[in-house]
């Protein structure tokens, strides 16, 4: 059984790698199979984890409380199916409106808390004073100036000109250094994924190491 897994795994690994050379039937096969199989996977995940316990089971057991809980999502879900009818298709917008209203409403206070307040708070630290190391102060200033300059860069209602432009330029410099750092930092993780695959091919499949 394990041998089968290893050989099939190695086959698909090579199918996908072959795409690096060019598109070919092996890649096409693996790609189309992955789409079909993963779709079927999610059909099952959604069905067994959500639909069965929360929609089918309540009606089976007849427990009024869980039925009551199952009805609203049932209606919301079924409304989406009105799309198939040219006449009543617009009713699916009710569900969409519900989802969008919920999602965006939930987001607003959380954005203000997590993205604005927490981040602003973290930027309030020692900028001068005794008892704090010189380098700590310098670093704090770098963060402080960097955050403000980056924010300046994102102003839409002012031209990046004059002293405003200079600060915006500092902002973009911070952004670019940050992006470079992120890029460099990520190389590591990406290469380790490849190491994982090569390890699989060399050890589990070919037994070379």
């Amino acid at each position: 059984m394990d041998v089968l897994f290893v050989w099939v795994g190695a086959f698909f690994t090579i199918c996908i790698f072959s795409f690096l050379y060019k598109d070919n039937p092996f890649y096409k096969f693996a790609e189309h199979l992955a789409v079909g199989v993963s779709c079927g996977y999610y059909v099952n995940i959604y069905f067994w984890n959500f639909i069965k316990p929360f929609v089918i089971d309540p009606f089976k057991t007849g427990d009024p409380k869980s039925i009551a809980l199952a009805i609203p999502p049932l209606i919301l879900g079924l409304l989406f199916f009105t799309r198939f009818s040219p006449k009543y298709g617009w009713m699916s917008r009710w569900s969409m409106a519900f989802l969008l209203g919920f999602g965006n409403g939930v987001a607003i206070p959380r954005i203000i808390d997590q993205r604005l307040f927490v981040q602003a708070k973290a930027t309030m630290f020692s900028l001068w004073g005794s008892g704090i190391g010189f380098w700590t102060l310098i670093n704090n200033w770098i963060i402080f100036i960097g955050v403000l300059a980056t924010l300046i860069y994102f102003f839409f209602s002012r031209e990046h000109k004059g002293s405003f432009g200079v600060v915006a330029r500092i902002g973009i410099i911070f952004i670019m250094v940050g992006f470079g750092a992120s890029f460099g930092y990520t190389v590591m993780g990406r290469v380790s994924l490849l190491i994982g695959r090569v390890d699989f091919l060399l050890r589990d499949w070919l037994h070379l190491i």
Partner: protein
């Protein structure tokens, strides 16, 4: 100089005197030996009381066998034992009675018993606890103020834009590129690929991408360019089908809309990417749009797209993926620009007004950071503590 410093300190102090008083008002007195407290569990919808205590200092914790906590229900003669607790334990949340939850606004009496290893025991004082539903959470008060303020400011700017739409908005190269991208595809007679991120509809970035899609789709409909929109989420797909269909209808070509071009592939990240890669290599779109929330797949998409020679326009608020779009794509909307793009493209005064509102908020936040940092360095931490 020193006097000014002192004055600032004093004035700030005066300003915040009320807050110090509120602190004194909310403080609790400490009197009994066990220091047993029964308080309503904060931030909930009632039905729970938190009991906390600390053992008297003269007791050696090693000698204690266990603690027993009792509750006297109103009207009942015998107490209910809530459980055997470990000597180290210092709190307990009581949230179940026979009726599952504690009744709100009902006084329950609690008492703690310490049983020693030698069999002796001591009992604590009795305290009363009442559980309540909280209708407003004090902790979130500051966030509430922030929410009201920011919503108010953006609304004000939108409202103002209604009457006075004559204000400056800086030019963005990427926006022009989006329009050129559609034109290029038309000239070459090749399709356009639009990926609105790989997240769900609950992600605001997805919505921002869909807003841009509606503009792109209209242009495509006008020029008769094929628009391919593969999806990773079925809800996002239904919304996008709606948006693209509406775009075709709005330019008077409802029949030109091909539902099979706005389609679902799979929920699986990598299988989705494999399929989109396949589309890029086989259909060779002239312009690729990658807008919205992206994860690791960003670079696979962008590099494959680059190898097919397409013009690539990307935009995301995912800070981790931005570096890859910046390097591998021709144009990139960075963070907030993604959200602004739709307003830019619509040229609607109302939407542009909201951009102005964002700028004001940005300014306020910068002031807050500046003020907060200065106050913090002057020894006042309240602004930082609030946030």
């Amino acid at each position: 100089m020193v006097t000014i410093y002192r004055e600032i300190r004093f004035l700030t102090f005066l300003f915040f005197v009320p807050f110090f008083f509120s602190g004194i008002l909310f403080a609790q007195d400490i009197s009994s030996s066990f220091n047993l407290k029964a308080v309503d569990k904060p931030i909930d919808d009632g039905g729970a009381i938190e009991i906390s205590w600390s053992l008297p200092k003269d007791i050696n914790i090693e000698e204690i066998e266990k603690l027993e906590l009792y509750r006297f229900d109103p009207g009942a003669a015998e107490p209910v034992k809530l459980g055997d607790l470990k000597p180290k334990q210092q709190k307990f949340t009581d949230e179940s009675s026979d009726e599952r939850k504690l009744r709100n606004k009902t006084p329950y009496i609690y008492q703690l018993k310490a049983i020693f290893k030698d069999g002796s025991q001591i009992t604590s004082e009795k305290v009363e606890g009442i559980s309540k539903i909280q209708w407003f959470e004090k902790r979130k008060f500051v966030i509430f103020i922030g929410t009201v303020l920011s919503i108010g400011l953006i609304l004000y700017c939108i409202y103002k834009a209604k009457t006075d739409s004559n204000f400056f908005i800086r030019r963005m190269v990427v926006i022009d590129a989006i329009e050129e991208g559609v034109g290029r595809a038309t000239e070459m007679g090749k399709p356009i690929l639009f990926v609105s991120g790989t997240s769900t509809i609950n992600d605001v970035a997805t919505i921002a991408a869909i807003n841009i899609l509606s503009h792109v789709a209209k242009k495509c409909a006008e020029y008769g360019t094929r628009l391919i929109v593969p999806n990773k989420d079925s809800i996002v797909m239904t919304v996008q089908q709606e948006v693209v269909k509406e775009a075709y209808t709005s330019v008077g070509k409802p029949d030109a809309f091909r539902e099979e071009d706005v389609f679902y592939i799979t929920d699986d990240q990598m299988a989705y990417v494999a399929a989109v890669d396949g589309i890029m290599v086989r259909e060779k779109p002239a312009t690729n749009f990658f807008l919205g929330m992206f994860y690791a797949e960003s670079l696979i998409l962008a590099e494959t797209g680059a190898s097919t020679g397409a013009i690539q326009i990307a935009g995301t608020d995912a800070v981790t993926q931005l570096p890859f779009f910046i390097t591998a794509c021709d144009y990139t909307l960075i963070g907030e620009e993604l959200y602004a793009a739709s307003a830019y493209m619509s040229r609607e005064p109302l939407l542009l007004g909201s951009l102005k509102g964002q700028d004001y908020l940005k300014f306020l936040i910068m002031i807050a950071i500046l003020l907060g940092a200065i106050l913090y360095n002057l020894g006042f931490t309240f602004l930082k503590d609030w946030l």
